[in-house]
Amino acid sequence: MQPSIAPSKKRFSFDFQFDVMWLIMGAIILFLLVFQVFPLLYLVFRAFFSTGSFSLEAFKRVYTYPLNWSALRNTLVTATLSMFFGVLIAFPLAWLVGRTNLYGKKFFRTLFVMTYMVPPYVGAMAWLRLLNPRVGNLNVFLQNLFRLESPPFNIYSVGGLVWVLTTFYYPYAFITISRAMEKMDPSLEEASRISGASPLRTLWTVTLPMMAPSIVAAALLVFVSAASCYGIPSIVGAPGQIHTVTTRIIDFVYIGSQEGLTDATTLAVFLMLIANVVLYVSTFVVGRKQYITVSGKSTRPNIVDLGKWRIPITVLVSIFAIVIVVLPFLTVALTSITVNMGRPLTMSNITFKYWERIFTRKAIIQSAKNSLVSASIAATAGIVVSLVMAYLLVRTNVKGKRIPDFLITVGSGTPSVVIALALIMTMSGRFHINIYNTLTIMIIAYMIKYQLMGMRTVVSAMSQIHPSLEEASQISGAGWLRVVKDVTIPLIAPSVVAGWFLIFMPSFYELTMSTLLYSTDTKTLGYELFTYQTYHSQQTASALATAILILVIVVNWLLNRLTDGEFSI
């Protein structure tokens, strides 16, 4: 009879699905173990067992060298200061944009968020041009304006480094804090107002304490990003002999000797330690304290009327946006069409030959191709992992599903230099795998560093689909695959696209890891740009940077359109 067949068939398909899940999860874990956990552990091992048995020799040698001490100090000082200023800027901005009647707040929001997707070295290039101690445009302008004896700023200094780091990492804090503020139930603030507290007092006694965990998380994020940044200190710091841990690591690797590698490893372990502590604190200590205050019924946030301050504050924010965002981007764009950078930009001083060059020179095109291929593959593989992980995390109770989630989080929290160094040490034949000098090693590095962003996006979309939507399809007679095809995929498609770009973009213009992993055949766009900037032609580098900027803007606009403003990068 019919009915007796149906249940057994159903059970079969259930088992099948279950096994496939295990298989895929196993594959993901294996990938992470081989290409992430093992290399990182080996790095630590190498630092302590440099001579074959346990010894702190390497540490002693590295840390008695004064240049390394100053690099360490510079890293800690610049990261701490950038964290401090970054949050100091981000919190008021997030509040103004999210909670007040500031003019043009939507525009400002988009502008600040977009900076997040611009490669940090673009900022370094721009500020170099603006605040060069002798010929920096802004320096000259200010010197003439105030009739100063000498130019007011010197970018080749610790202060200059902090400045550029801050202007490029405050968006991290801005995004984190804005998100938390959006999630906060506005009636919590209204309850304070009706209790007699002024808007400022409400900000102080309710908004700020409620946001404290997110502010700490944002601060830590800025700290660790600034500490592991290579692009900015290598462009801004190097000319002034200001070294950081990342630039030292890369210098040591470039020495090429075993000793150089050991020294690089030892410094990298220090950086890794910082990053891991920060990751631990922000997920397990601060994360726990996060107040869940999303209200059942969405109320519109109570918009604070800035009153007579509305115009002055809008002017202030505009000046900030012009100095921090518009000015540097414009500088880079203008540099790309300047013949002689020492002379003002007149008609005779304009040229498009650098633009022509970036679209014709073979080496550049080859590097762009390499970047396109490796970033596309990393993004596609990364999004497949993200989808599987999202399904595992949101829809199943598979034991151990948190393990790959945890590993992916750790991978992304690890500084780029550390990932690249660990891959070099382990994947160049020493352990029967030799993918050094290939695009594959690049792709793996990108995935480890960036797939978390894709995963977070897809997971959050998936958790917003109530299981009953899928169950309704199932009860209508659709099988497992059909449910996924008819219901799940259409609902999460926008976030899958967004997630793909979130992995693709930073991989596409990646610099730090590429600098360590490239070979003559596998140069990337970021590396190409960097060499032009430091050795050959700043104008060509600027043309490339401008092209990347345009790409960021276009992708951002496209995603916004595609997903009705729900997603942008």
Partner: protein
């Protein structure tokens, strides 16, 4: 004196008018409820009284102070009002004690006095033993009491409540009704209460203001609202009702398409709508009464017998005594006696029936 005077207030968000020419005075120590379907503008009215929204036109006075007008606007913190939010809005980073003490701290009251007042209020809302807990350790009902305590502690003359019970389960909701009402009487405060639940409104209010689509439909005591609804919307929204179309003839109303009529000597002429509440119909032996029909279905609900009766083309609902359940059979011919009914002019619109409550 804490009357609330709302003078011809209109509120628009952009082009969308959500409240039209609201004009009403809430008396001192009165319990007034704004009742209406979701989206009709109740919360907006409440938020204008609190000072979270500005009226587009019109004025609001609390006591004899103008708090909102063309020229003046008093911000929420200067209005001296207590308010309970639908989502509780209890601060998760403060203990129960600190939550409740907050308004007093803002008012710079001496510490010892704060302690006395908070303890006494915590007693009123039955939370004395929870003073040092954090909200995350409390149930929804307890969080609600914290919010109530916080709203009352500064002894405001006016208390605003926005659907305070809608997130609680049914049992708790009923007991909280009485507590809120009790507190209002004991404290002698003016309460403006917002709900879409008509039984809640009936049980608690001195006066109810029924709103639909931003327009006041009727203002009255619960009995007036229930027994003399001003229009079909109110009749339908408050309680249950059967509508039948009819035409007034000499001394009676002919029901359209039913070949039946009911006696009538009121003022209306021409086309009308007859509104009959199901509990105002009595089932009597066949051959008597004003209407005839056939019993389609009956549902035994314990306290009553809920019947559907076909009166020759229209099905109406009748709520009969529960004993009738055993005595009646489906498809049985039956007569109906109307204890009471209402007649409205037929404006040709049927949209009142599309209200979802």
């Amino acid at each position: 004196m804490s009357t609330i005077t709302i003078k011809n207030v209109t509120k628009a968000f952009g082009d969308v008018v959500v409240l039209k020419e609201f004009d009403e005075v809430f008396g001192d120590k009165e319990f007034v409820t704004l009742l209406g379907p979701s989206g009709c503008g109740k919360t907006t009215m409440l938020r204008m009284i609190a000072g979270f929204e500005k009226p587009t036109t019109g004025e609001i006075h609390i006591g004899d102070r103008v708090v909102s007008s063309d020229k003046t606007f008093v911000p929420p913190e200067k209005r001296g009002i207590g308010m309970v939010f639908q989502s509780y809005a209890v601060w998760p980073h403060m203990t129960v004690y600190d939550n409740v003490a907050y308004p007093l701290k803002i008012a710079k009251i001496p510490k010892a006095e704060i302690k006395n007042k908070v303890e006494s209020i915590l007693g009123v809302v039955h939370l004395s033993q929870y003073a040092s807990r954090y909200p995350s350790q409390l149930s929804g009902g307890q969080q609600q009491r914290v919010a109530l305590g916080r709203a009352l502690v500064a002894e405001p003359k006016v208390l605003l409540l926005d659907e305070p019970l809608s997130n609680l389960d049914a049992k708790l909701r009923e007991s909280m009704r009485f507590e809120i009402k009790e507190i209002q009487k004991n404290f002698g405060i003016t309460v403006v209460y917002v709900t879409h639940d008509q039984t809640e409104a009936m049980a608690m209010s001195d006066r109810i203001i029924v709103i639909n689509r931003g327009v006041i439909q009727q203002v009255g005591t619960p009995t007036e609202i229930y027994q003399k609804p001003a229009n079909q919307f109110v009749a339908d929204f408050v309680g249950k009702v059967n509508f039948l179309k009819g035409e007034v003839k000499e001394g009676h109303i002919e029901l359209v398409g039913l070949d039946q009529s009911i006696p009538y000597d009121g003022v209306y002429k021409g086309k009308v709508v007859v509104a009959i509440r199901p509990e105002n119909i009595t089932l009597i032996p066949n051959g008597q009464g004003s209407l005839k029909g056939k019993l389609l279905t009956q549902f035994y609900l314990g306290d009553v017998n809920d019947c559907r009766i076909d009166i020759g083309g229209e099905v109406i609902r009748v709520i009969a005594e529960s004993e009738s359940y055993g005595a009646l059979q489906e498809n049985q011919e039956i007569s109906l006696y109307l204890k009471d009914f209402l007649v409205y002019e037929d404006d040709g619109k049927d949209d009142h029936t599309s209200i979802i409550t």
